[in-house]
């Protein structure tokens, strides 16, 4: 038997081996389904990773916000407690007939850090300057706007506060009606010294 005839018989043998078209179609359909499943699996995996990441990020942010809220509430409660405790406090100056008025105006209340700092400063100034001839008034614009407005009008500070965008301030009003805003952020000049200078100048 020649080599060529053996090869042709081998070729013929394999070419006769075939699969029915229906079976081939079924294989291709299964393959396409598997490809689609694989593709959707990848999409689902990516979506799951993204969702997990978003969930973790949201959880982290929620915890952070909660912590800062708790810190804020704690700080506010301490300030509130201080203010409530000091409600009965009557400075000596008031008893003697105060000449100066120290007015702290708070725009937003305790939730705002600037207003909270102003409130804390007001309390500390009231303690520090208890021997000075000063009457202390705290005005909360948000809590009681009508009352605050009438109080400010009483001290001739209505136009001053209304003209400002950021209304939180601490000011000292002299008996002659001069209103001086105190700079509570300047570390080189403490408020106590600023007040002492104003009182000295008025004399």
């Amino acid at each position: 038997m020649s080599s060529d005839s053996a090869e042709s018989e081998i070729r013929q043998y394999y070419e006769e081996a075939t699969i029915p078209d229906a079976r081939l179609d079924a294989m291709l359909d299964h393959g396409r389904t598997a490809a689609a499943v694989s593709r959707w699996k990848r999409v689902a995996g990516i979506a799951a990773v993204a969702a997990t990441f978003a969930f973790v990020a949201c959880g982290y942010l929620w915890i952070r916000l909660n912590q800062s809220d708790q810190a804020l509430k704690l700080a506010n409660s301490e300030l509130q407690r201080t203010l409530e405790q000091d409600q009965d406090f009557v400075p000596a100056s008031t008893q003697q007939g105060a000449e100066f008025q120290l007015v702290a105006v708070r725009q937003h209340g305790d939730r705002c850090p600037v207003c909270r700092a102003a409130g804390e400063k007001f309390v500390s100034l009231r303690d520090e300057l208890s021997d000075a001839p000063i009457d202390f008034t705290l005005v909360n614009l948000r809590d009681a706007p009508e009352e605050a407005k009438s109080t400010l009008e009483q001290f001739d500070m209505g136009s001053l506060v209304d003209s400002r965008r950021h209304k939180t301030l601490i000011a000292l009003r002299s008996p002659s009606g001069v209103i001086t805003e105190l700079d509570v952020t300047d570390p080189s000049s403490p408020v106590r010294e600023q007040v002492a200078r104003i009182i000295e100048a008025e004399k």
Partner: protein, 165 residues
């Protein structure tokens, strides 16, 4: 013919080629079909379509070797080797003149069947077979030569002496 139909017919031809290649490896229709189906699923999952013949044949080969290795560990004597005895009696050989090709192919090793198929049916050169299977070219050539010799030797028979009755 639309592009979809054309692609489907190309994929069918590829599947058929894969089936014949698998048949050359396992020499069993059911196993070959199973192998092709698994390879088809594997390629579809990885690539999304059947496009590259070399890639598809390689997937079939890899699957076959994975399975063959597993079977070899489980029962080392299951696969036919080149040293199988010809079960056909001498009288039958005398009548038919030659052995059935299927039986002959069954008696040679799967490596020899593989190179025979790739060379004789697919028309790949020894170089291409070497690149495809990762076997050195010299080994491919010697396997091809041995396989053809075995086929030839199986076909050749000694005629029954006429003076013996």
């Amino acid at each position: 013919m639309s592009s979809d139909e054309q692609q489907r017919s190309t994929e069918q031809l590829l599947l058929l080629a894969g089936y014949r290649y698998a048949l050359s490896l396992v020499h069993n229709e059911h196993d070959a079909e199973d192998l092709v189906q698994q390879a088809c699923l594997k390629v579809f999952r990885a690539k999304g379509c059947l496009e590259n013949k070399h890639h598809f044949l390689k997937a079939i080969r890899n699957l076959f070797y994975d399975r063959w290795r597993g079977r070899k560990r489980a029962s080392p004597t299951q696969l036919p080797d080149g040293g199988l005895e010809d079960p056909t009696p001498n009288q039958e050989r005398t009548v038919t003149g030659k052995l059935d090709l299927k039986t002959v192919l069954e008696s040679i090793s799967h490596e020899h069947r593989e190179v025979l198929y790739l060379n004789c049916v697919e028309g790949f050169s020894a170089e291409e077979i070497s690149q495809m299977t990762g076997v050195p070219k010299g080994t491919v050539l010697s396997q091809l030569s041995r396989a053809k010799n075995k086929i030839r030797s199986r076909y050749e028979y000694e005629p029954y002496p006429e003076n013996i009755h």
